[in-house]
Amino acid sequence: MPTPILVCDDSAMARKMLIKALPSSWNVEITQAANGLEALEAYRAGKAEVMFLDLTMPELDGYGVLETLQKEGLNSFVIVVSADIQPLAQERVKQLGAIAFVKKPVNPADVEGLLRQYGVEL
């Protein structure tokens, strides 16, 4: 059965770039969200076993999504994808429960390595 994953970024271009960087052998069903509210909706509908999350977005940003997820029990692997690579930003999202941080522009090898590290079957 394909893994339901969610790609959340306000930029369609960024979503496209990320989806292209995912390992082709990974059996997934992709849902896209353009802001944090849409992401939470998809998460609640069970479409986000793995979530790729941008930080700066309108409506509800990545930090807000992580906070809500924490309150709701955090039943998702969240990988933050951001151009902001300052150590403090990485630390903040990890404290909020994200498992990893991937910098933009996304490098396919980084994503694959990360998924393997967490035992995802590719």
Binding site: S11, A12, M13, A14, K16, M17, K20, T56, S82, A83, D84, I85, Q86, L88, A89, K103, K104, P105
Partner: protein, 203 residues
């Protein structure tokens, strides 16, 4: 020739700029030893008659500002302007570790340096996707403590379009924000659009 961007082009340019500014944020953070966030909420290409009002609207009508300009040349050519609000200048000096009251020269130097870094980061990031390089002339103070509405005189503009990039630049808890405006002649904007199209085709 219409210079408006399609929504796809706008989105791609915004993302590319975001990535460039994100990298700038992390390098700036190293230099300033403070947490920096930079976001690019809006990108727009207004016509010459609307440049002045678009800038005033972006910055806030009637606001007192100081502006730094810097020209660039290469595959893309034009002039970039960083617009600072007055409160921001003082906060920035404070954070940059000028404990004592900074004199006017030190303040100007600071504003020039920050403008140079932001303009370089943004435009080099864009140039990177074009796989080209840009050369920059030294920045200079364009206007000090003027009302935003009088910053740009549209009758003096020889080029037809401007690329307006709103950059919110925040240092730690302080909301220091500034705005970046890039003025480019038509042929450069056309090249930029072509480059974005090529970039998008690769994805």
């Amino acid at each position: 020739m219409s210079q408006t961007l399609t929504s796809d082009q706008k989105d791609a340019l915004q993302e590319v700029t975001n990535i460039a500014m994100g990298q700038a944020a992390s390098t700036l953070a190293t230099i300033l030893s403070t947490f920096v966030t930079i976001s690019v909420p809006r990108i727009n290409i207004p016509e010459v008659s609307e440049i002045g009002s678009a800038i005033s609207k972006m910055v806030g009508n009637g606001k007192e500002v100081t502006a730094v300009r810097q020209s660039f040349a290469g595959h893309l050519r034009g002039e970039a302007i960083i617009i600072y609000g007055q409160e921001g200048c003082r906060d920035l000096a404070d954070l940059m570790g000028y404990d004592e009251d900074i004199d006017q020269s030190a303040e100007r130097e600071l504003l020039l340096d920050i403008a140079n870094v932001l303009i370089g980061a943004c435009l080099n990031g864009i140039a990177d996707i074009l796989q080209t390089g840009l050369t920059f002339a030294p920045p200079s103070i364009m206007a000090e403590r003027v009302i935003i509405n009088s910053l740009i005189d549209p009758t003096q503009l020889t080029w037809n379009n401007a690329l307006l990039v709103e950059v919110n630049f925040t240092l730690e808890a302080r909301n220091f924000s500034c705005h970046l405006v890039t003025l480019m002649p038509e042929d450069s904007i056309e090249r930029l659009k072509q480059a974005i199209d090529t970039f998008m085709e690769n994805f």
